[in-house]
Amino acid sequence: MRKRRFLLWFIVGLTLVSLLIDLPSQIQLKFLKIDKTFQRPAINLALGRFHFQRDLEIKKGIDLAGGTHLVFQADMAGIKQEDKKAALESAAENIQRRVDLFGVSEAIVQTSKLGEEYRLIVELPGVEETSQAIDLIGQTAQLDFKELTPEATAAASLTDFLSTDLTGKDLARSQVQFDPNTGEPVVSLKFSDEGAKKFSEITGRNLGRPVAIFLDELPVTIPQVKEQITTGEAVITGEFTLEQAKKLSVQLNAGALPVPIKVIEQRNIGATLGIQSIQKSVRAGLIGLLMVILFMAAYYGRLGILADLGLVIYGMITLALYKLIPVTLTLPGVAGFLLSVGMAVDSNILIFERMKEEMRVGKTRLLAMELGFGRAWDSIRDANVCTLITCFILFNPFDWSFLNTSGMVRGFALTLGLGVLLSLFTGIVVTRTILRTFSRSEAKR
């Protein structure tokens, strides 16, 4: 009995928390003399090394927000096998940096390796003029070593740096290493033979002065020269954190291991189409939901209304999960969600039909209910396993290269899979608790 009461309160609590998460970030209340704006707080938790931060807005995919999806093929012909992974990472980092400069918020840059094919996947929400964007992204990185003009003083600015003949071409590889004395992370540079000579000259004439490294005409780091370096191997020290050192090394590699890239896939969705799609799907979803709710109430009466209550709770928890995970919603994802709503009442229908049968053979209402839930469970479990397996294959969580990694397919599989799992919870635990609560009060009467 105590366990059941606990469950009831757990469900009530879960629903309220979900409702709070589901609310839009600002709510205006205008009622008689009350005029207030409520602000829903965002989540920002930090427990030691564990950070959990969510702004609790629904993330929209390119097809809903409008924007551009690009796939680039990287030409690895000039890169040694063991450097290919680093080269691809540097290219991705480089694109991310340029996209940020371009002012695109929430851009996504991913790398993908398929056999011997190296690719970059770029998603630019809100960007429609792609020719410019592609030109900007598609350029290979240009790394330059610059020195101060001889007459520059300590108060020199960035414009006082002049290019030398040393460029990214002369740099073979950059890596993060640890200083054997202090144990602090440092960034190492290894030059080609040609580069070593040039670097030796530059360090020779700039003793005690800074030498700047520019990537795409923007400074990445400006270390001081401590001594002339003739070996072609240098280290940049500084008070780096490991993260900073890694980032610097990746940026230097973008110049050292340049990979030309070309577009092999491009998808461009106009913003108006996206907004229309959202409006249409929301309307379709609401009407579909209403039909399901009315149908359940009309066919199963009181039981159906209680199942509808479960369905509404299901909807609220699902939406809250989308915001918490966060799930990037695409149009197929929305379809997956709506499909799962249609399927969510399935377990209830199975249970109710069982109850009817038990009551037909003369069992009491309460007993029929418990038997119905117990006997229907096997069917419910079996029936959903296949759908979950299929969702797993479509979602491809381990990024197996022999399976699809398309965002649309994954979006669908994720929302459908989540929906099926959650509907098992709401269809059985939530509805049963609601039913028990209501039957108890009925029995007392």
């Binding site: 093929q73 398929l114 429609e128 792609t130 020719s131 592609i134 577009v263 092999i264 896939e265 491009q266 998808r267 461009n268 969705i269 106009g270 108006t272 189409l273 229309q276 799609s277 249409k280 799907s281 379709a284 979803g285 009407i287 579909g288 039909m291 399901v292 149908f295 359940m296 066919y299 149009l331 197929p332 379809a335 709506l338 499909l339 709503v341 249609g342 399927m343 009442v345 399935d346 229908i349 199975l350 039909e353 096997d378 069917s379 079996d382 029936a383 396993v385 296949c386 759908t387 397996i389 299929t390 294959i393 479509l394 022999f402 399976l403 699809n404 398309s406 649309m408 397919v409 669908f412």
Partner: protein, 293 residues
């Protein structure tokens, strides 16, 4: 009710739906979208309505600029959908200017998609892999769940029944209305495979339960009892899914229209087959076995 009396009628209905689809599959096949073949999809919207009769002219205008157009279709009221060999975004701008001169208005670019040919081929192999894996897992599950060849094989026959109805109808729609098969369609097929097994499992579970409880009752009578018991559930459950799909089809966006149609066909076929294909198959199996003995 004596449902099984009409079992041959159910098979005839299935055959009537299946045969045209399969013939079409063999003859015309499916129309692959640019996802699989590589190519460009360009959707343009005009202020004024463009007549079907003008499509030929649009095609000619674009081909004069040396772009290969494979089809011009309407998409919504004022929009047209062009399919071409892969072009770049700059080429798309050229096409827009050419059309703007002719129709005295600059069209709005609603959608532009280009897929390189290598990517298309790769997707095809990945898709086949997904189908093989999903079907394999589902087969393994059914085999493990029933530990009985009769139930397993009949469930799988019902699954094939549904997938061939789905594939066949898309082949027919592709031939007559130019409907294409893309990645999302494959997703729909895979999901329908699992939904089909889902419904059949529920019905078969009931048959086996009845067999345990009433070992002396003849099989055909058991089958009738089960169908009477499970039919309301099957229809009600499908109805709720169909409500959702219908709302999406009638009110939802253009982009996922055929995705939803695929689900609709699959769901209806699945509901029908779980009762009127899967169960009669079992009955026929039992009868054949009885004759042999």
């Amino acid at each position: 009710m004596n449902f099984m009396k009409f079992k041959w009628l159910y098979f005839v209905i299935s055959a009537l739906v299946l045969i045209p689809g399969i013939v079409s599959l063999v003859d015309y096949g499916l129309r692959p979208a640019i996802d699989f073949t590589g190519g460009t999809l360009l959707e343009l919207r005009f202020e004024k309505e463009i007549n079907m009769s003008e499509y030929g002219e649009i095609k000619k205008l674009i081909e004069e600029k040396d772009f290969e157009v494979s089809s011009v279709q309407s998409s919504g009221e004022e929009a047209i959908l062009l399919r071409l060999k892969p072009i770049t975004k700059d080429d798309a701008a050229t096409i827009k200017t050419v059309l703007a001169q002719n129709f005295e208005e600059m069209p709005e670019e609603v959608r532009f998609e280009t897929v390189g040919p290598t990517l298309g081929k790769e997707l095809l192999t990945k898709t086949l892999m997904a189908i093989v894996l999903a079907a394999g897992f589902i087969l393994a599950y059914v085999a493990w769940r029933f530990k009985n060849a009769k139930f397993g094989i009949c469930a799988i026959l019902a699954m094939f029944h549904d997938s061939f109805i789905l594939l066949g109808s898309f082949s027919l729609m592709g031939h007559f209305w130019g409907v294409e098969v893309n990645t999302l369609f494959v997703t729909a097929v895979l999901t329908i495979l699992s939904l089909s097994v889902h419904d059949t499992v529920v019905v078969y579970d009931r048959i086996r339960e009845s067999q345990r409880l009433l070992p002396d009752v003849p099989f055909e009578q058991l089958a009738n009892k089960t169908v009477t018991e499970t039919l309301p559930r099957n229809i009600n459950n499908s109805l709720t899914i169909i409500f959702m799909l219908l709302a999406l089809l009638l009110l939802g966006g253009e982009t996922i229209r055929w995705f939803v149609v695929a689900f609709l066909i699959g769901t209806i076929a699945g509901t029908y087959s779980s009762t009127f294909t899967a169960v009669p198959l079992l009955v026929v199996w039992e009868q054949l076995k009885a004759k042999k003995v």
